[in-house]
């Protein structure tokens, strides 16, 4: 298995007033292609910060971040936007769909920024929605969909650019357990298809879907276990 991501001694320090918060405090982490990882830890331990860092939404205060050999910590804003667009698929706890757009157009969105022509975009968006089992809900707006369906639209949006990694920060946190299970089935199947997935969760039974679990505590990796 080849290396996808390599974090070396990553620190993220927030200054709140006079206090310095070490959200990430020297994280070393290597992630290979087609891994399925869950991240666990108490609230405030730095899980979201780590996900944002990996997702190139945030830059480290210090340390080295390589993504497929490219030095992310040295990238400017436009390069970060480009790598987010091409290589990373985000799934958020609160779905973050655009309320005025239909499922199809929400899924199409990343391809607009990737400068793909309309016809191609719609084709890919349809395919992505089919993968998450929403082919018959394409023209619904988010408020016409259930929570589980919304999250599946969000996953389709994350998928549509065929990214190198899918980052899901508590994707089932806002869902009932049945919808949560559906989402996990979708993620499992994506993993089977060869995707790399990182997933933040509080729930042990959700974490078990992954093949490797990373535990965070006070901004440090306290445990890194391969479970399968």
């Amino acid at each position: 298995m080849s290396t996808l991501i390599s974090l070396k001694n990553i620190r993220k320090i927030y200054t709140v007033g006079l206090e310095k918060v070490h959200a990430l405090d020297g994280v070393d982490l290597t992630i290979n292609h087609n891994e399925y990882i869950s991240v666990m830890g108490p609230s405030g331990s730095g899980k979201s910060t780590l996900m944002n860092m990996i997702g190139c939404l945030d830059t480290p205060t210090s340390g080295q971040y390589e993504f497929e050999g490219e030095l992310v910590h040295k990238m400017d804003d436009n390069q970060l936007a480009s790598i987010r667009n091409r290589k990373i698929g985000f799934v958020f706890q609160t779905f973050n769909l655009l309320p005025k757009l239909t499922a199809l157009h929400n899924v199409e969105l990343p391809l607009i920024y990737a400068n793909v022509i309309r016809k191609e975009r719609l084709k890919k968006a349809r395919e992505a929605l089919e993968k998450v089992g929403l082919q018959d809900r394409m023209h619904h707006r988010p408020n016409e969909l259930s929570g589980g369906q919304r999250q599946r639209v969000a996953i389709a949006r994350a998928l549509v650019t065929n990214p190198a990694i899918i980052l899901a920060d508590e994707p089932t946190g806002n869902l009932d357990s049945k919808s949560g299970d559906e989402i996990m089935q979708v993620l499992d199947s994506l993993f089977e298809l060869g995707n790399t997935i990182i997933l933040v969760t509080h729930e042990e039974y959700i974490a078990k879907h992954a093949h490797r679990t990373i535990n965070l505590f006070d901004g440090k990796i306290s445990k890194d276990t391969r479970t399968k």
Partner: protein, 404 residues
Amino acid sequence: MIRLLLENFQIAVTAIVGGKIRALLTALGIVIGILSVTLMGTLISGLDQSFEKSMSFLGRDVFFLSRFEWFGGQEWWEVRNRPKFKLDYVDKLKEQGKRIETVAPVMERGLDVSRGEESVVGVRIFGTTPEYQRTTVVNIKHGRFITEGEVRSGSRHAVIGWDIADGLFGNENPIGKDIKLGNHRFTVIGVVEKQGKFLGLFSLDNQVVIPIGTYQRLFARRGWMRMNVKVDADHVNEAEDEVRGIMRRLRGLHPQEKDNFAINRQEAFRKQYNMIKYAIGGTGIFITVLSLLVGGIGIMNIMFVSVKERTREIGVRKAIGATRNMILGQFLLEAVLICVLGGAIGMGLAWGASFFIDKFIPSTMPVWLAIISVSLSVVVGVIAGLIPSYKAANMNPIEALRYE
């Protein structure tokens, strides 16, 4: 790049359509601004056209000598005591003025003109000489103008304006037929082609021209006379000095005495007209700038609100790969679109209003005005949208995503 622009266009349209009424209300300032600039432009271009047309009746190289200045300044009592013009000035001016090409004496009064039962009231009767034709525009449609011989003999021949021919004769040919000026019988020898109104004030087609000798004999031997003096078109200003010199000599004025006559020129109208034009233009520009300013501030405000409301959307767009410039472009385009929409409404209203104006002053909306209006709207949109868009573009995606 073009494709992105198109996408942004769609996003902007969706955003505007989503908040139609609010957007329209904020665009009201732009609507009024563009309305006023286009109305003003239409009005001025219409005024210009009719002014120039009217001015063609007062040639640039013709002086209108009379007791009064066209656009006052002098005390009434002073003007009232000025001597009258005499017919023998005509020959003296012609003889002594090197730059004078011709002189036509003109006497004028109002009178009713009739033929049998038909009559036209309030007609201007002009007594003059054949030279009159060279000092203004008189295009003969039928027949001919008066002759030197008719002036000398004082014959009862008349050249009538279009409205009179129309009113008294309809489809009949008036040449050789008799009409009555007041109680005096005249024979029509010519009809002047239709000329329209002078500055929209009075009709040039409601006139009758007769030989000056006849005029003096029948209507007023000692009435007011004025002179149309046509001069060398290449030396108009020198000619004015010359005419003034001759007139002062004829009047026997000492050097320290003021002129007791007036040399009127087209220029006087032009000056007056320009003052009106600048007043209209100034007012229009003032209203335009003010409305665009207010409108622009309104747009800026609504854009700030829009950016704030869509903070999460901005976060999402950034997370899925929108760059700063794409976000900037999206919001800028939205602001520009609102402004252009407002501008288009303003132009539409102005276009409608121009038909109304057209009833009083013939005018059409010039194309360059439309171009200026659109450009103005775009500029206002860019300026008003710049700061809010910049704010949107520079949002931190993580904070934007967390925004409630």
